[in-house]
Amino acid sequence: MKQFLTGKGIFGGCILLLVVAVALFAPLLIPDTWATQMDMRARLSGPSLAHPLGTDQLGRDLMYRMLLGAQTSVMIAGTAVLMSLVIGLPLGVISGYFGGWIDNVLMRLVDTLLAFPALLLALTISAVLGPNLTNTIIAIGIAFTPYLARIIRGEALRVSQLPYVEAARSVGTSHGKMILRHILPNIMPPIIVQATISLAFAILAEAGLSFLGLGTQPPDASWGLMIQASRDYLDIAPWTALVPGAAVAITVLGLNMFGDVLRDVLDPRIA
């Protein structure tokens, strides 16, 4: 626990807590209408008392939109990473633990998928399925799966060659019990670290997809969508891009900082 209490760990942890709190509670505390209410006289106005972070091209309050957008962005990133874990974990563990032809076939497939840039794969899947919130999650989830599967496979392979696994095998432990009781608990630390870092990438991917119009669709508010909307008004109202951009940057920064510290604590080999 003490190891978390570095400047980086505290700062990263605080940002994460803040973002999660905003994502969870903003939709409960802020009425939807505050973020969708258009004030045509105050279009593209700068920060003021009435609108602390300014307004967008339709006169909507940027602060409320940013706070409510947190839920969409965090939810999409979290679910997508969870999805890639759910697919990648069994794939990676089976591949690393059993080895042989299963490993060859699965990893050949994973390596091929790795040749597709994650963002390209996500964009293609999203365009194929038709862009909306659910399909954005599916697209990012599938695009991230090969990365996680590759890392999980490496860990499973390493652990399954350790003497204690051999010992367990020699007393006749079944494969299922071996994986659940002996392999999984010992490969979790690097996987948790990787999942945290993937979350940061997923937030960026969602922003990228939405920015290109192939992610979250209006009227849902997401940070990427807000940046996209700001493109035509950069000259006169740069804050319309700065507010959501800063939200993405701070969230990802928090995740990266926390991920770095988590790696130092859980997985000292790489640190």
Partner: protein, 313 residues
Amino acid sequence: MTYLVNRLLSVALTLLLISLITFMVTNILPGDVAMVIMGTQSNPEALAGLRESLGLNDPLVVQYGRWIIGILTGDWGNSLVFKEAIGPLILDKVVASSLIVVLSMTIALSFAVPLGVWAAVHRDKWQDNTASTTALFGVSLPDFFFGIMLILLFARYLGWLPSSGFVHPAEDFFGAVRHAFLPSLALGLGLMAHLTRMTRSTLLSILGQDYIRMARAKGLRERTVIWRCALANAIGPVMTVAGLQVGYLFGSIIVIESLFNFTGMGWLTYQALLNRDIPLIQSTVFVIAAVVMLTNLIVDLLYTLVDPRIKLS
């Protein structure tokens, strides 16, 4: 020699798998190529006729076979949106994008290596904290956000560089670089942050080794120890990561080229995806994946030149 043959066979197999995955993903498309060509208002008989003549009624295996034979024989079909042959179209855009890829990689490497070395040599001092924190910020900002900031600063406020467009290097080389500079910088900054972190951590692990202590003990100057003894061994891993980042780059150019209206491969892919131009989607996705895979092969082969201890086997 056997290694090279094996490796080439494996490349061929991977290319085949890449084409299969590309074809499968794009054929889940609920869209109808014939409908895209003729519009939603067209009469059903004409649609059916076109579908028949395009071979869309054939089984998927036959369609895949026809596509892959076309790819191999140089007949890549026509784009539905651009009404042009896909082969020459892609070749043209690959040339445009390679300008951005090379430029951003050069920007990234020429800053990342010195910065990473500087951080590692001054571990846990202010120099390290400054470089590491900057790099952490760099990996946390979306690159299109960098792009927007660069447009605001260099194009709108200072007016030094154009904010959009593409000039072919054959027509006006200087103009081409001017147009490619901001998009390359937007891509290069994020990349630089990744590579700085990598250089720092690799060099740190090397600086702790015995041969470095030996080099210092025998009185070599610190500069020689760092740049000749330590960095020579760090360059390999950094190069591998840089090679892997080419994949990341090709993902990012889709966003960056669209933002800067730079008509390269990323822009073309985006247009294909937006307009559901299925033949063009298939070809662009296939080409990008193939380029990424071949880049990694080249990096692997170069590795033996940088580090003679590594034997290909």
